[in-house]
């Protein structure tokens, strides 16, 4: 099928004789990259050596049936390596892997028609070293037979009893993992085997090294191995094409910034964010020409985007008689993807790097712009040609990655908790250091003082925020019908302007990895939740997420909470209790997770906090929203001399601290970050018996306080808050059990917060109903009294069907000993109207 001319052209051997295949890999890879990538004809050396060409066999393209029946097509030199090829493999077409390099066909014909070339023989002689029969692929130290054998052994024997990957869900962890996956392939029929490189590394370090260094040679060998194994087990299985091995998470996972020339042609895994994808590019792999005179067919392979049109028909010797037949040419899908460094990997003050990734065949359109992905692929570099007609080149290489495997890191965030994506890897030393810190008795105080050191005092507020950073334990009650139980702690700070509330918010926002900062004034409901917009390029409707969704698993800091419009605030109701966000607009109906803690700051309505008013009256927020905050703190100017002195000292030292002290603190912030991250991922405390008892007691006590005065002083919501706070405190200690001390601290903090925010200014008692119903019990009682007085007044007037509003008000005022405001009067009227005793129309009051 292939014309000898094209074949012979390809067989121009680069000088392999000079190569020592057993030289150290690093050195080798350097020479290798230049030899394979820079030569004008990107002919892999392996190709020239027909003796060892077996790994390339699966790449061959099978187009017509005539070809498929030919044994030549399965160019495995099976006689050398192993027994005859299985009929299973024979019946399944191989599929090219453009991801593994420039597409070439294996020179099957040559293997029989021509003796191995001298160069190849020389290569083999080099390869057979001391081991005698050890043959290696030219340019590497890979022996096909051994490599295949090793990989098969790996597939047959590797077990991973501690596997946590969700892809392995439903598999028996004590059985060989990949054999089960092969079973799966035979059932599902998707001929792709994803192999975790770290598994290979634990199983056979040498094989892993070879895979990393020579992916272009090793992966086809793997393909071959797995196909043999598969069709051995499932001879009758029908697959679309032969199984392709896709290794992923090469342990040398690095960020984009760390890539350097050493990595060229190696298998790498990097993470990043997709910023752009191109349209699908059909790339011609092989052109099909037919002679117009004698109908002789010939195929020409594409060589770096160019097709050398044969000038003379080899059959009839007519010149310029060959015409391209498009639909018999072979194409493959290709897509360009731009990947940008994820923001976390970037050093401060620099701009993110980008890399070009090529996706081939079924990896095309697997990712969308905005996705966070881990990509495994081969790093490539090609010289840039200044002018195709000149031999002068720009001395710069173009680099790209041929993708072999994609793995989205944020895929699961919409559905469940992404534990491994967030997990920071801590060194053993770091963990030991953190644990040592956790063992200190005053760790709680230490951490809280390390929080926002530039903000003075407000110890309890800092403690509250610290607990918020840790969060409670996530519990799932969906079986009992309660759904998820909120683990996030919400905090509201209110107080005078200029008490560094915003600064505290900024600090928290900078501290947590997934924080969002918005201002109530500037944010609308859509900005907080999500909105649908039309992508200008694709004309598709896309869902753009807002601050609350973006801060899923993080903290959403909302400044100027009071300035928020009512409609905006209303979306918070759902978020703050159910932790979800429902969206129904423009044909998109969905529920997004928004497991975010809310840290809000509000200013009093009258610019200065009025101590004579309740919290609700001061900040004018609906009580339905307030009751969703676990802790509400007042940040007031304490106005006392000792405090002033300490404050002054703090501020002055803030301004004039020496460099070293500043350094120290920066260290603290890093430690704090790690400490929180470690605790959040590893510690999941549960209540122990004593703690539960203590919580019950605390709750009962809280209820009792109020019941004495005929009011409710605690609701189940407060109990839940207490539980969350206790759990968070246990997390601070790295304790897996919530103990009494945790409950004690939770109680104390909760009480402090209540004392500040829920004290009834009229009576001086703590009254939770201020927060839960928006009105203190005494206020309610007074309202009742006024209504009764009004009723009595009306009754004394006898049978008058209608009265003047103003007159009634004056009468009531004159009668009552306490001052009655217009508001109170209106409220009383409304109360009576609710009783169906009277109606108010305009300025007249009618009895019913």
């Amino acid at each position: 099928m292939s014309s000898p001319s094209s074949q012979s052209r390809k067989r121009d051997p680069p000088t392999p004789a000079s190569e020592d295949p057993l030289s150290p890999p690093s050195q080798r890879s350097r020479a290798h990259d230049t030899s394979t990538e820079l030569q004008p004809m990107p002919t892999s050396p392996a190709m020239d050596n027909s003796l060892f060409s077996s790994p390339m066999a699966p790449r061959s393209v099978l187009q017509s049936e005539i070809d498929a029946s030919s044994p030549l097509m399965y160019g495995t030199p099976s006689s050398r390596v192993e027994g005859t090829p299985r009929s299973g493999i024979r019946g399944t077409p191989a599929r090219q892997r453009p991801d593994l390099g420039s597409v070439r066909k294996a020179p099957q014909v040559d293997m029989h028609s021509e003796p191995p070339s001298g160069d190849a023989a020389a290569g083999s002689e080099q390869g057979t070293g001391a081991a005698g029969q050890r043959l290696v692929i030219w340019g590497t130290d890979v022996n096909v037979g051994t490599c295949k054998e090793k990989f098969q052994r790996f597939l047959q024997h590797f077990t991973d009893p501690n596997s946590k990957e969700d892809e392995n869900a439903g598999l028996d962890l004590n059985e060989p993992l990949y054999m089960q996956k092969l079973d799966e392939i035979s059932v599902v029929g998707e001929p792709v085997l994803n192999v975790n490189c770290s598994h290979i590394q634990t199983f056979d370090a040498d094989l892993y090294r070879q895979l990393i260094c020579y992916p272009q040679e090793v992966i086809p060998t793997f393909d071959m191995a797995v196909n043999e194994l598969f069709f051995d087990r499932f001879p009758d299985s029908v697959l679309e094409h032969q199984i392709q091995v896709r290794p992923y998470s090469a342990v040398k996972t690095r960020n984009m910034r760390a890539l350097n020339p050493e990595d060229i042609d190696q298998l790498i895994t990097i993470s990043g964010m997709v910023i752009r994808t191109s349209q699908l590019i059909p790339e011609m792999q092989e052109a099909f020409f037919r002679c117009q005179v004698c109908a002789f067919n010939t195929r020409v392979e594409v060589d770096r985007g160019r097709i050398a049109e044969p000038a003379v028909c080899r059959n009839c010797n007519t010149t310029h008689s060959l015409a391209l037949v498009h639909n018999r040419s072979a194409f493959s899908d290709k897509q360009m993807i731009k990947l940008q460094e994820s923001p976390e990997d970037m050093p401060a003050g620099q701009t993110p790097h980008t890399t070009v990734v090529y996706a081939h065949n079924d990896l095309v359109d697997k990712v969308q712009p905005g996705d966070r992905i881990n990509i495994t692929g081969i790093y490539r570099a090609a010289p840039m040609r200044l002018n195709p007609r000149q031999s002068q080149v720009k001395s710069v290489y173009k680099t790209h990655i041929d993708a072999i495997h994609f793995r989205k890191t944020d895929e699961k965030r919409l559905h469940g908790l992404d534990e491994d994506g967030d997990q920071k890897l801590f060194t053993k030393d770091r963990v030991a250091m953190l644990k040592e810190l956790a063992a200190k008795p005053d760790v709680y105080e230490r951490l809280s003082s390390a929080l926002a050191p530039s903000i003075y005092e407000h110890e309890d507020i800092k403690k509250g925020i610290l607990l918020q950073l840790f969060g409670g334990t996530r519990k799932d009650f969906s079986q009992t019908g309660r759904g998820n139980f909120r683990a996030e702690i919400n905090i509201l700070l209110c107080g005078d302007p200029g008490t560094s509330k915003s600064q505290l918010l900024q600090y928290v926002f900078n501290l947590v990895p997934r924080g969002q900062y918005t201002s109530g004034k500037g944010s609308s409901a859509v900005g907080l939740t999500a909105y649908v917009m039309k992508d200008p390029e694709t004309r598709q409707l896309v869902l753009q997420t807002g601050a609350l969704v973006l801060s899923d698993n993080g903290i959403c800091c909302i400044d100027e909470f009071d300035k928020m419009s009512d409609s905006t605030r209303s979306v918070l109701h759902e978020v703050m209790e159910q932790q979800t966000l429902s969206i129904a607009k423009a044909g998109i109906i969905c529920q997004l997770n928004a497991r975010t803690s809310v840290l809000a700051a509000a200013n009093p309505v009258e610019s200065q906090w009025n101590p004579k008013k309740t919290t609700i009256e001061n900040i004018q927020l609906p009580h339905t929203l307030l009751s969703r905050f676990d802790l509400i703190f007042l940040m007031l100017d304490p106005q006392d001399e000792a405090y002033d002195r300490r404050l002054a000292h703090h501020l002055v030292s803030l301004y004039y601290q020496s460099e070293e002290q500043i350094e120290e603190e920066h260290l603290d912030m890093a430690v704090l970050k790690d400490y929180i991250a470690f605790a959040r991922t590893t510690v999941h405390p549960r209540l122990n018996e004593e703690a539960s008892q203590a919580l019950i007691e605390a709750y009962v006590d809280m209820r009792k306080i109020g019941s004495g005065r005929g009011m409710v002083s605690a609701y189940p919501r407060q109990l839940e808050s207490l539980i969350r706070l206790s759990e968070a405190h246990a997390k601070v200690r790295f304790s897996s059990k919530v103990e009494t001390i945790d409950v004690e601290e939770a109680k104390r903090l909760h009480r402090e917060a209540l004392k500040q925010s829920a004290t009834d200014p009229r009576t001086g008692f703590v009254d939770i109903s201020i927060l839960t119903t928006g009105m203190s019990a005494t206020a309610r009682k007074r309202k009742e009294e006024v209504a009764q007085a009004l009723k009595k007044l009306i009754q004394t007037k006898g049978k008058t069907p209608a009265m003047k509003y103003q007159q009634l008000f004056d009468d009531l005022r004159g009668q009552s000993e306490a001052a009655i405001t217009k508001d109170m009067f209106d409220e009383a009227l409304r109360a009576l109207a609710d009783e169906d005793y009277l109606t108010v129309t305009g300025k007249t009051v009618r009895l019913l």
Partner: protein, 630 residues
Amino acid sequence: MPTVHDWINNPLGVVDGMFAQSHSSPDWEKKVVEYFKEKLKLNDAHAWVPSLNDVPLHYLKPNSLVKFRCMVQDMFDPEFFMGVYEMNDPTSNSKQVKCGKYKDVTECGVDFNSRNTVTSERQTFYCVPIPGESQWVKESYAGTSQARVVPSTSYVPNRHKRSYEEDDEMDTQSQQMKDVSQGAHSSADSHGNMEPKRQETKAPSQDSSPSHCTSSLDLNFPLPGEKGPACLVKVYENWDSFKLNDMLEVFGILSVDPALSVIADEREASSLLDPTEGMETVEEQRVHSPPASLVPRLHMLHAQPLVHNNPLLPSSALENNGDHLGSVLGELASVRAELLTFFTHVLMGDSLAAEYLILHLISNVYSRRDVLPLGKFTLNLSGCPLSSPYTEHLYNVIQQLVPSSFRLCMSLHNMNNHRMVPRKDYTANRLMSGILQLANNTSLFLDETQLEQGQLDTTGVQNITALGNLISWQKVDYDFNYHQMEFPCNINVLIASEGRSLLPSDCQIHLRPTLNPPNLEEYLSAVQVAQVPSLINKYRIYLSMARALNYTISDEITKAVEEDFVEMRKDDPQSMSAEDLHRLLVVARLLSLSHGQNTLSRDGWMKAKQLEVLRISQTQQQKCLNGNEP
């Protein structure tokens, strides 16, 4: 003579020579860098290097050593290149190892299969001239340059002198620049003289490069109306130490190989043939490989981070120049007094506002405590006369004194249409600059008197938010489409407004004119003209100097300040909040620095307090006045 300056005229020859000598040893690269560093250290050697800033590109010799004073505007992706390659010589049929470093293009006949090829990595920065750099800075730098530059095309050593003189405009210009730096004429005078001539110099250079670049290529300057060359700087080592918006003086080899431009021309043709070309969009191509005649390449040999861009001060760290410092400190008090009077005149007799203006101009973010920038002092100068020339004149005065500045008219149109925050353009893969991408210590003059009633659209609101963030936190959140990235900055913001500004500020002062000149414009220009250039130079040195002084506070004073704070709170807790103390500490710091003291004295503290009391009472009075008016 030519041999002495070989390293300037033919640095590649030097590099190649050193490479040929010792490329087998691994540290030849270090040696090259050391060699050039040593050369530049020699007395005033760097003055001999022609600067891209003041010499038109077509006068510079390709592949010669040039310097460029610039700001890093964008960082491109790292690129791999052939550090060492082997060349087939077809004539002698021999092979030669060549060095590819500091070059864009290889020589003909590269042997791609050679084992001697070494792939190396380098980083490309897109650098623009320092945004908002004042004219006097440019002139002064150009004046100190001793480089002899002739059009490279007609380079004949014998006719060196003559051609230099023939180049009339060049000559007079540099002559005048020298004059300015020596202070022979009054600045306004020389300014006036120069105007037409500068037009002349600009005209030809515009023909040659910037004119057709504006049509085809956006050079991506942060500020509108900027001119000058942009440069692709290739960095070979330590690129991690450079940050976006850093000011640098780059010494490097100029590469304007026309072959580089061929790429752009033949793009269409080659993209059909070569799939590797297809991975870049047209926009990206245009940005990343613009024609070398417009955006020259500069292969960095040495770069000096600039702490400031004041040509009147030595560029190295100030601490090392004790004697210089001493001489300035001697007359500091008198300079300060002069400056105060000058400002008082400019501010129509309001000496308090003048005092605060000085404090503002020497403010500097010297440290950050978690999120809090320390040392910033945003001044809101309210009560500015609405007639627009006033703010313009005020800005002119400031521009004359600070090395870089920008006046932003906050008109509705500007707010709604300007791009303030830099934004990443993913199609072209570059950072589209915005007005707020400024180098450290740039003075940003916000003219709020230009704001009229009307509606701000989304962009307008975003711009206002960005300005607010800049003022409160000294940071700008660059827009990366999928996320935002925070870049700390250090920009002195002065807001001129009629009433209290809608933007936050650290300190508001209401202008109370005591003079009422009948013709404001005439008066102001008269005030400006009255200043002797030598004095203006002293002001310039003074402002840059005071900003860079070190400052400490003793324990004793700390105690006193604490006591004082407690006392003040006792009298009236409302009048003295923590915020006020913050401001008072900054004022005290700046006041001490402005007097050249690098520690806070009790006296200084009292003065700062008085100043604040005065200011607050003045603002309060204004409030009462306004309250009574309607």
